[in-house]
């Protein structure tokens, strides 16, 4: 087997790869931001102690977490235009899907982060006279965020990997960029290998950064 990487010139990178990379990064960033926002809402609903808030949030989260992402992508692609009543491209559909999907995962991370704070800390905050809101803001959340930030970021790296699944609806992401290039120039093996290397370098570096960040912000106990 002779591999030929000569097709990887700047032209190909520019025409095929960068466009996909840009979309994957954009999708990751937007879905993370949106996922954190809606995830927080879901987590607060679940921790509210009110059944009518908790139950629907729990249902949403559990359904999202028990269906393969590919199927969720297909579902949204099919349903979103029907719901909003106007055309939506594969790229937009992917953004909506990933935001909705990640919200479910992020909400679980946040819930666990908040619950990881020892009960004694809650008591201590109350004992010095803090109200529920003050206790959350000054004692619980600052610690919870430090605890969950690494997990959130790790989830974001997984999200970046998962963007490769948008090929199911024909959106043009990083993997699709490599694939299209490979098929157009008849070099599929080389491009798949290259894709693996690029993903690895990106994800490995990101997780190394997360590890360092974790060390830095970890609370000394």
């Amino acid at each position: 087997m002779n591999l030929d990487f000569s097709i990887f010139n700047w032209n190909l990178i520019q025409n095929f790869i960068l466009k996909g990379l840009w979309f994957s990064v954009m999708l990751t960033v937007v879905a993370t931001a949106g996922g954190v926002f809606f995830g927080t809402v879901l987590a607060l609903m679940r921790l509210s102690g009110q059944k009518w808030l908790d139950a629907p949030a729990a249902l949403y989260v559990n359904v999202m977490r028990s269906v393969p992402l590919v199927m969720v992508i297909l579902w949204f692609f099919l349903l979103v235009p029907l719901v909003i009543g106007r055309p939506i491209g594969a790229e937009y559909s992917a953004v909506v899907t990933f935001t909705a999907f990640e919200a479910a995962y992020f909400s679980e991370i946040m819930r666990a982060g908040i619950q990881s704070i020892p009960r004694g800390q809650v008591f201590a905050g109350q004992a010095v006279g803090m109200t529920y809101g003050q206790n959350m803001k000054l004692v619980i959340l600052p610690q919870a965020i430090r605890n969950m930030l690494p997990v959130l970021l790790t989830q974001t790296i997984i999200l970046f990997q998962d963007t490769s699944l948008v090929y199911a609806i024909g959106a043009y992401d990083l993997l699709k960029g490599f694939e299209t290039a490979g098929k157009t120039f008849g070099r599929p093996m080389e491009t798949y290998l290259m894709a693996a290397v690029v993903y690895f370098v990106i994800c490995f570096s990101l997780s190394a950064i997360v590890k360092r960040l974790h060390k830095k912000i970890a609370i000394i106990r």
Binding site: L69, L78, L165
Partner: protein, 252 residues
């Protein structure tokens, strides 16, 4: 939008509705086909789960060995390699690239390659959990095993692993459910499982919503069954008087 569930009773060749909804012999209905597809999903998932558990446990274990820095490094490298490349890319690598590099693997059926891809991908996550499980045990447990004269394999076998596995049942449960979900990408390399069914039959019958619902429900049922099985194992393995605190969420 009106639902038309009769579509599953149709013969896959003639499109005629078959009474009883199930075909015979080579005349199959979309319902027959649905079950076959589910069978593939289950087969891929269970086989990959086996690979993942075996390899993941081994890798996770060697990462906790004292005084074996090279084995630990090997384990760490394994985990980093398999978890930093998207599953889909790994599947393509196994399917197209690996057999090209190792000609003898050309003879492997796609099923085996997908199982390897999904299994090894998941093995990295399971290795991480096994390592975490062992390290979550009080350090004194290892010392206590050693102090009684157990050799390293003995104290892993009799002291550390029994508790470590009990502790990680919850994350193992969700990882096993993840395998079922992740098996969906196997359709990309022509395994005729549920997602491929959804795409093909949704197209053939022009009733994608009904088809998607059926497929989604089967995925949910699979996940639920796995969940119950693990819950049962957890109950059976529960140690009287022992309370453990749960760990970790995230990942899919």
């Amino acid at each position: 939008m009106a639902m038309d569930w009769v579509v599953f009773c149709k013969d896959t060749l003639s499109g005629d509705v078959v009474s009883g909804c199930l075909g015979h012999g080579r005349d199959i209905t979309y319902l027959n086909w649905l079950f076959t597809a589910w069978g593939w999903t289950v087969a891929v998932s269970l086989a990959a789960l086996t690979v993942a558990l075996v390899v993941g446990s081994a890798i996770g274990m060697i990462r906790t060995l004292p005084d074996k820095p090279w084995l630990v490094r090997l384990g760490n490298a394994w985990v980093e390699l398999f978890r930093n490349i998207p599953l889909l890319v790994q599947i393509f690598l196994w399917y197209f690239v690996v057999p090209a590099l190792i000609p003898s693997m050309k003879a492997f059926p796609p099923f085996i390659l997908v199982v390897l891809a999904l299994g090894l991908f998941t093995s990295a996550r399971i290795a991480e959990q096994v390592r975490a499980g062992i390290q979550a045990l009080p350090k004194g447990q290892r010392y206590a095993g050693m102090a009684l004269g157990f050799t390293t394999p003995q104290y892993y076998r009799y002291v550390l692993l029994p508790m470590a596995y009990r502790i990680i049942i919850p994350p193992l449960t969700s990882e096993s459910m993840n395998i079922f979900k992740n098996s969906a990408v196997a359709f990309a390399v022509s395994i005729p499982e549920l997602t491929q069914y959804a795409l093909q039959v949704g197209e053939e019958t022009a009733r994608p919503i009904e088809v998607y619902i059926a497929v989604t429900v089967l995925y949910a049922i699979s996940a639920l069954v796995i969940n119950r099985v693990f819950a049962h194992i957890e109950r059976r393995a529960r140690v009287p008087g022992f309370v453990s605190s749960g760990t970790g969420v995230g990942g899919h």
